[in-house]
């Protein structure tokens, strides 16, 4: 068997076993409908004031983190990796390619990712949104010259469609986030979102390139480009979450959990 596939299966098996072990602990604080607008508190309860004593407005724990010691180590390794290798790559990318080119590259890969959004909208029975996605793909691929220009933004019916992903589908099916995980290189995720990433990976045509050309040699440069185009945004989000933090690990964890809670509820 292909060793990469074996590795992925092992990872999937590991996450699946973790999933069963900590879903109950972490799913006790589900997001409410009001969190669509980001209007709820950290713990997802309604934001009614506690008269006289508002100290516990922001209840603290938001996700189970039984693997914290291991996660902290992975987080530290990732931080070094980002600082000394990936950040310079990202800076270089921003330096070498002018902004219009980078935004073209970004848009092309985003457009290609269409099946991830389309299939998940369908799996969530959000057919109007799936239709919007199909419309966006059609408009951007044709008028937008292969997705280089995001022409769909000019059509009010096609602008601002929240992007669906596999983890969001799991959440809609009632699956809680499970415990918090820090993956090597990728960084913060939860068991559910990690499995979701595997689903997104399988649905992303970038992954299929290897099958079309019968060689993984094609997949690598395409996947690398897809990763690099996201780096400037990812680092800016990372900095926003960890800058001026008392504890970078906790700051990133909380930011991730809150951000995903909103993304999932959209």
């Amino acid at each position: 068997m292909n060793p990469r596939l074996l590795y992925r299966l092992a990872l999937l098996g590991l996450t699946a076993s973790l999933f069963t072990s900590c879903t109950t602990a972490a799913s006790r604080k589900p997001a409410t409908a009001a969190s669509v607008a980001g209007l709820t508190r950290n713990d997802g309860k309604s934001a009614a004031p506690a008269k006289g004593d508002d100290l516990d407005e922001y209840a603290a724990e938001s996700i189970a983190d039984p693997l914290e010691p291991v996660n902290r180590v992975t987080f530290w390794v990732n931080h070094q990796l980002y600082t000394f290798l990936l950040r310079p790559v990202s800076k270089g990318y921003e330096k070498v390619l002018p902004k219009p080119v980078r935004s073209g590259v970004f848009n092309v890969f985003d457009n290609v990712r269409f099946p991830v959004r389309f299939v998940n909208d369908a799996l969530q029975a959000r057919f109007p949104r799936a239709g919007q996605e199909a419309g966006r793909f059609l408009v951007n691929t044709t008028l937008g010259v292969g997705g280089i220009f995001r022409v769909s933004d000019k059509f009010p019916a096609l602008a601002d469609v929240p992007a669906a992903d596999t983890a969001q589908t799991f959440a809609k099916w009632g699956i809680g986030p499970g415990c918090y995980l820090v993956l090597p290189v990728i960084g913060p995720t939860s068991v559910r979102d990690g499995v979701g990433l595997a689903g997104d990976y399988a649905l992303n045509p970038v992954t299929w390139v290897g099958f079309f050309y019968g060689s993984w040699a094609w997949t690598i440069p395409v996947s690398v480009s897809d990763t690099v185009r996201l780096m400037p945004d990812n680092f800016s989000a990372y900095d926003a979450a960890t800058g001026n933090a008392l504890d970078r690990y906790l700051a990133l964890r909380e930011a991730y959990v809150q951000y995903r809670r909103m993304a999932v509820s959209k």
Partner: protein
Amino acid sequence: MIPRLLLLLCATSLPALHAASDTAKARLETAVNEVLDVANRATSTSALAKDLRPVLLKSISFEAMTRRAVGPGWRQFSDAQRKKATELFTTLIIRTYSAKFTPGERPRIEYKSAATPAPGRVEVPTTLLYQGSRYEVVYRMEQSENWRITDIVIEGVSLIANYRTQFDAQFKKGGAGAVLASLTQTLDTSR
């Protein structure tokens, strides 16, 4: 009978809530415009933090922010420790907030209709368009003498909730002293 009475009660209190959210929203818009004017003139991020301070002190309730970020442990802070924590956290928040601006580049902000989760509280959802990206930003406000911001939620991430977890960990380690020490250390290293 009871539902009708309830309806009547709701109907009579609605205009008041509406007026409150309008006042809060107007206050927020003024504050944000003031901030953007200052940001527009600033030459560097550190200068921006200094210039923004008086503007932000007017429109943000840093005391409420600090109290809630610390949580129930706040009861065990002495008056002097509370004052110190508020002072340090204020500087940290202003620094964090200022770092989000690139001097000279003005974001466009769309204000949506405000929600009133409770009397004396208003939440104003906004969309911020900045450097080609859209961000959902919710301002939570409360009325004391006037309307002040008590939390800023960017893309679902609450500023206060984020610090709450970190303060909690410090408080569990060593009480108020540990919270103050870690705040001081963060301010020193992030300068």
